[in-house]
């Protein structure tokens, strides 16, 4: 008997785990006729401690940096064997997507495989203990970019991954947030139905790594959107076709930052206010650029 969710309960994810939510929403959008590839990471570890599995769809994990290549091979294999209709989805964390797996991802998108890649972006290497990645935002304290007497934490802004994917000519690129599940499910459905390599970038707050109460995952995610730090948009065939407006709900970035331990130093260190202003400037730039 199929469980109601294609990601069965009983996995080892933390309470309030962003990966579990992102995976569940992805499968709700994709449906059961799919094959999922996950790189090494929290999602893989928490869902498949042998001999158990949470996946009610065919699922494969190979290595950390090769999910897109494995997905390419699955798609090619299904095509060669004349098996039509099965959706091929790669779903991995920001490190596996934007750092170590970027080359394989770029190759797969350049070749035009009919796959959907879902990046679950929790903005650091959480499985290994909250180390900085290319997705870590400006000013966040991680275990390898800790705030200290002469450091405000991570000194660089996030790598603009959707823009990199767009440069590959992907027919569909969208950003999503765990605070907007219906939006995410619809976008995944759309992405998997469009022919060619499509990309979903999901902003996914991590209770453990970011330091907030396990009940607040959705609230933190929503605040990222409402401050303009995480714009929600859709790009089809290179054209921006949909943007979620913030309008009068716009919140200052302090509201978002103060919810999380990783930004705590910005409120206690001398000079922190200027750093917060820099982060506000990033949000303001998004608001202007995307017309939020």
């Amino acid at each position: 008997m199929k469980s109601i969710s294609l990601l069965a309960p009983g996995h080892r994810g933390c309470a309030g785990c962003c990966d579990a939510m992102a995976a569940k929403f992805t499968l709700m959008g994709a449906g059961e006729d799919c094959i999922v590839v996950s790189p090494t990471g929290c999602l893989e570890v928490m869902t498949t401690p042998y001999p158990e599995t949470s996946w009610d769809i065919p699922w494969i994990h190979s290595l950390f940096e090769n999910a897109s290549a494995v997905a390419s091979g699955i798609e090619a294999g299904l095509k060669a064997l004349g098996k039509q209709g099965t959706k091929v989805i790669a779903m991995g964390g920001d490190g596996a997507t934007m750092d170590i797996g970027l080359q394989a991802l770029s190759g797969a998108f350049e070749r035009g495989h009919n796959i959907t890649y879902v990046c679950i972006d929790n903005e650091a290497y959480m499985n290994t203990g909250v180390q900085r990645s290319a997705a870590t935002p400006y000013g966040a304290s991680t275990t390898t970019s800790p705030a200290g007497k002469v450091s405000f934490g991570n000194p660089r802004p996030k790598k603009n991954m959707p823009a990199i994917i767009l440069a590959h000519g992907s027919p569909y690129v969208a950003t999503t947030s765990l605070a907007y599940p219906k939006d995410m499910i619809a976008k995944v459905k759309k992405a998997t139905e469009i022919e060619g390599p499509t990309y979903i970038h999901c902003h996914a707050p991590c209770t453990t790594g970011w330091g907030f109460d396990t009940s607040k995952t959705v609230e933190v995610a929503r605040m990222a959107v409402q401050t303009g730090l995480w714009p929600l948009f859709e790009v089809e065939d290179g054209k921006m076709t949909k943007v979620r407006k913030i309008g009068n709900n716009k919140k200052p970035v302090e509201e978002y930052l103060k919810m999380q331990r990783r930004f705590k130093h910005l409120f206690t260190m001398e000079g922190g206010a200027e750093e917060i202003a820099k982060i506000q400037a990033l949000a303001d730039k998004n608001i202007e650029e995307f017309g939020l």
Partner: protein
């Protein structure tokens, strides 16, 4: 069992070694080919690409990947959905695949890969030795080494049959010396389609990624389970010892060609001196043996065809009555001052009643030519060992002292 060759010369054509391999791959009806170009493997993938462009490989997808790492990673996916999967590489490309090699073997995916053996950098060098594949010894891949282009062509079909056997389900590397075999034109019988369709049934693995019957591949195994996965891989490797022999015999029955199973022998029956080696150097050694036999030197050859699984028993059976064994290695284990075949051979003799001196030569590094005179010099060293024992156990061959 005797294996008199039944090759009809009128069926022979003269082609390049790489073409022979590409043709053999095509004849094995692959579903997914994924490869990245690297010298001297390029002609194989170019020939396969031409076959694809001409529509000559039905039900097949060719993936032009962006690296060797992705070449083999893509095949993890294709093999897992039940597609017969093939790649080819060499040297730096094979070393880049290192992590994926373990993964393929651990996931029991019977992928076949031709390795056009080449030296490894630094210094960068595109010519032949065996350092690349020997350095992947412990990754769980069956490794077979061919002596000529007929053998590497035939070995391709054998490898698919061995690897895809349900008692094995381990990947295989079929190794051919870069340039010496990949770029040489020789007469051979191209792999026959009609016989191959009978010899090699379609790939039908028991477990695949299929939405109608969802399974999880690549779960993590904690200390409670991990050992048993490793044990089962080793057991599959041990099963493959017999399978490699059986498949070589079955191949002989159907095609009339035989180049050995785990090993092959030449003039070993009464031999005092037995030379052990792998790859294209076998031909040179046979010529030296013919010349020395005319001078009544009792010398024979033990060709090692399977380096993994290591055919310990077969090797012992051949060398047990010899007076000296000479092992030639186109690789070096730095810090051991010896080659891998030499080290392995010595290790299998320990704890046995066989007491034969074994000497090793690291030879042909980075494509240095191996003339017959070099082999003859080594044989005269071996004769000296018979007279007065081992003076140097393992050494570099044809070292140019003036360059050091």
């Amino acid at each position: 069992m005797t294996h008199e060759m039944k090759t009809d010369k009128k069926n022979m054509v003269v082609v390049e070694g790489s073409y022979a391999v590409a043709h053999a791959v095509k004849t094995c009806r692959p579903n997914v080919i994924s490869a990245y170009p690297i010298t001297p493997q390029t002609h194989i993938v170019e020939d396969l690409s031409k076959f694809m462009a001409d529509g000559e490989i039905p039900n097949c997808e060719y993936i032009n990947v962006e690296s060797e790492f992705s070449a083999l990673s893509a095949l993890v996916g294709s093999s897992a959905v039940g597609a017969r999967s093939y790649s080819a590489t060499t040297s730096q490309g094979l070393e880049l695949m290192h992590e994926v090699l373990f993964n393929v073997a651990g996931m029991r995916l019977p992928i076949i890969m031709t390795v056009a053996n080449r030296a490894v950098s630094a210094p960068i060098n595109i010519w032949n030795d065996h350092q690349d594949s020997i350095s992947q010894r412990d990754t769980g891949w069956i490794q077979l080494y061919a002596e000529n282009i007929q053998e590497i062509s035939d070995m391709t079909a054998q490898a698919f049959k061995i690897s895809e056997d349900r008692d094995i389900m381990m990947p295989s590397m079929t190794c051919m010396d870069g340039f010496i075999l990949s770029h040489v034109y020789e007469p051979l019988v191209l792999l026959e389609q009609d016989i191959t369709d009978e010899f090699l049934p379609p790939f039908r693995p028991e477990r695949i990624l299929d939405p109608k019957n969802p399974m999880t591949f690549g779960a993590f195994a904690d200390p409670h389970f991990y050992t048993e996965f490793r044990y089962q891989q080793e057991r599959a490797m041990q099963n493959s010892l017999k399978k490699i022999e059986d498949v070589a015999n079955e191949f002989y029955d159907m095609y009339g060609r035989y180049f050995g199973g785990l090993i092959d022998e030449y003039q070993t029956e009464d031999a005092d001196i037995i030379i052990m080696a792998m790859g294209s150097i076998i031909g040179t050694i046979k010529d030296v043996i013919d010349r020395l036999r005319e001078k009544n030197v009792k010398i024979g050859l033990l060709k090692v065809r399977a380096f993994r699984p290591f055919p310990a028993q077969d090797i012992m059976n051949v060398i047990k009555d010899a007076k000296v064994v000479v092992v030639l290695d186109k690789n070096i284990s730095l810090g051991m001052n010896a080659g891998a075949l030499f080290i392995e051979t010595k290790s299998v003799l320990y704890n046995t009643d066989i007491d034969v001196p074994v000497i090793g030569y690291m030879i042909g590094q980075g494509g240095r030519d191996i003339p017959m005179s070099t082999i003859e010099k080594i044989v005269s060293d071996a004769e000296e060992v018979m007279r007065s024992g081992i003076k140097i156990e393992s050494q570099f061959t044809d070292l140019k002292e003036e360059l050091i």
